[in-house]
């Protein structure tokens, strides 16, 4: 175990290896590691952010859903009310139409009956005149009797 020149040669070799590591090995590795750390950090932050976003979106969707449900309930209620109203209206209208139709039909019937009565009256008068004519053939003066008949007709 003599100390000899090996000591100095090994020291030189050591110095060269240190220089090599300081210059060529350490910096690129450090850069890569630091960059990766930054990437991981950013990734974690992004994950956190999107988690928060998701929570917000979920809350918002719940709100929207509830709102929609309320609105649809309201709409259905309104529609039902409207339908009931329309039915009610239609019913009233129909009743009105029916009663009007009845009134006009009654009126018409009265008029027709009147007309038929008048016709009948005319014909009865004619028939009476004709009958009287047949019976009283000769002596009857149509002029005189027509006055009598007219008075008779008005009495009918």
């Amino acid at each position: 175990m003599n100390i000899n020149l090996t000591l100095i040669s090994q020291a030189i070799a050591f110095a060269v290896f240190i220089w090599f590591t300081v210059k060529f090995v350490w910096p690129p590795m450090l850069t890569a590691i630091t960059e990766r750390q930054k990437k991981i950090e950013e990734g974690l932050a992004a994950a956190e952010r999107s988690k928060k976003d998701l929570e917000l979106a979920q809350a918002r969707s719940t709100d929207t859903l509830r709102e929609a449900r309320e609105k649809s309930t309201e709409m259905i209620g309104g529609a039902e009310r409207q339908a009931a109203h329309i039915i009610e209206e239609a019913r009233t209208e129909a009743t009105k139409i029916i009663s009007m139709a009845r009134v006009s039909a009654e009126g018409e019937a009265t008029v027709a009956a009147q007309r038929a009565k008048e016709n009948l009256r005319d014909q009865v008068a004619l028939l009476a005149v004709a009958g009287a004519e047949k019976i009283l053939r000769r002596e009857v003066n149509a002029q005189v009797h027509s006055e009598l008949l007219a008075s008779l007709k008005s009495e009918l």
Binding site: M1, N2, I3, N4, L5, T6, L7, I8, S9, Q10, A11, A13, F14, A15, F17, I18, F20, T21, V22, F24, V25, W26, P27, P28, M29, L30, T31, A32, I33, E35, R36, K39
Partner: protein, 268 residues
């Protein structure tokens, strides 16, 4: 190995002798080629692998190789962050990564079975003497520890200024009273000497001891059937325990490196 008689002494000597090539006069001017080449090869493989992964690194989803490298880098960076208060990315953290990866790989050479590796070194590399664990060479651990030590002083002066550093040598930890200057200086000298010593010797001692245990078990296995059985069982146990030591010593070496450098940045 095959040329000499196989005795316990020759066995141990064989495993504990470096491939030392003299490059000048005197004991100091020699190179342990085995430690040096193994260390450089491991460094090139280790940092080459990390570099190849890092070059294609993506900030998106990483593949398995990148995830593995990132795991190592973030592990080291976490330690640096906990200890060093300042801009660590410019030097301290990558330096800690260098220390950790390199020491871990060099320690991990101890996992390779010494006698099989001896055959490999002998037959393939043609070397009788070749020690495979660079951190079991005190030159390697002192090279690392003294480099850290020099960096420590360098950063101390850089942060506090030369005057501030000298002021700290004389005026801390006991106080700035002139009567205490000598004690402060002695205290600091002891600290400055003990830091690289303990730093280097802790790693060296652990790895060296690990090797010795494997050799002793190998020698036991050479004594007969009983030795083979117990050598194998204890060898397995020691190997498993050694996995812990290898990783732990690399970790401790890295932690002390960060601690020393960050202490240099703090003024008392």
């Amino acid at each position: 190995m095959s040329t000499e008689a196989l005795t316990p002494t020759s066995y141990i000597n064989h495993h504990l002798t470096f491939l030392t090539k003299p490059v000048g006069d005197g004991d100091f001017w020699a190179l342990n080629l085995d430690s040096l080449l193994t260390a450089i090869l491991l460094g090139v493989i280790g940092f080459g692998f990390i570099w190849s992964v890092v070059r294609g690194a993506t900030s998106g989803v990483p593949n398995k190789k990148q995830a593995f490298v990132e795991l190592a880098i973030e592990f080291v960076d976490d330690q640096a962050k906990a200890i060093f208060h300042g801009e660590r990315h410019t030097f301290v953290a990558p330096m800690a990564l260098t220390v950790f990866v390199w020491v871990l790989l060099m320690n991990a050479m101890d996992f390779l079975p010494i006698d099989i590796m001896s055959v490999f070194y002998h037959e393939v590399l043609g070397q009788t003497y070749w020690r495979g664990v660079p951190t079991a060479d005190i030159n390697t651990t002192f090279a690392l520890a003294l480099s850290v030590w020099i960096l420590m002083i360098f950063f101390s002066i850089k942060v506090k200024g030369l005057g501030g550093w000298i002021h700290e040598l004389f005026c801390s930890p006991f106080g700035s009273n002139p009567l205490l200057w000598v004690f402060n200086l002695m205290f600091n000298l002891v600290e400055y000497i003990s830091k690289p010593l303990s730093h280097a010797l802790r790693l060296y001692g652990n790895m060296y001891a690990g090797e010795i245990i494997f050799m002793l078990l190998g020698m036991w296995a050479a004594t007969g059937v009983t030795g083979v059985i117990f050598g194998a069982i204890l060898g397995v146990g020691w190997s498993i325990f050694h996995i812990l030591i290898v990783a732990l010593q690399a970790f401790i070496f890295m932690m002390l490196t960060i601690v020393y450098i960050s202490m240099a940045h703090e003024s008392h």
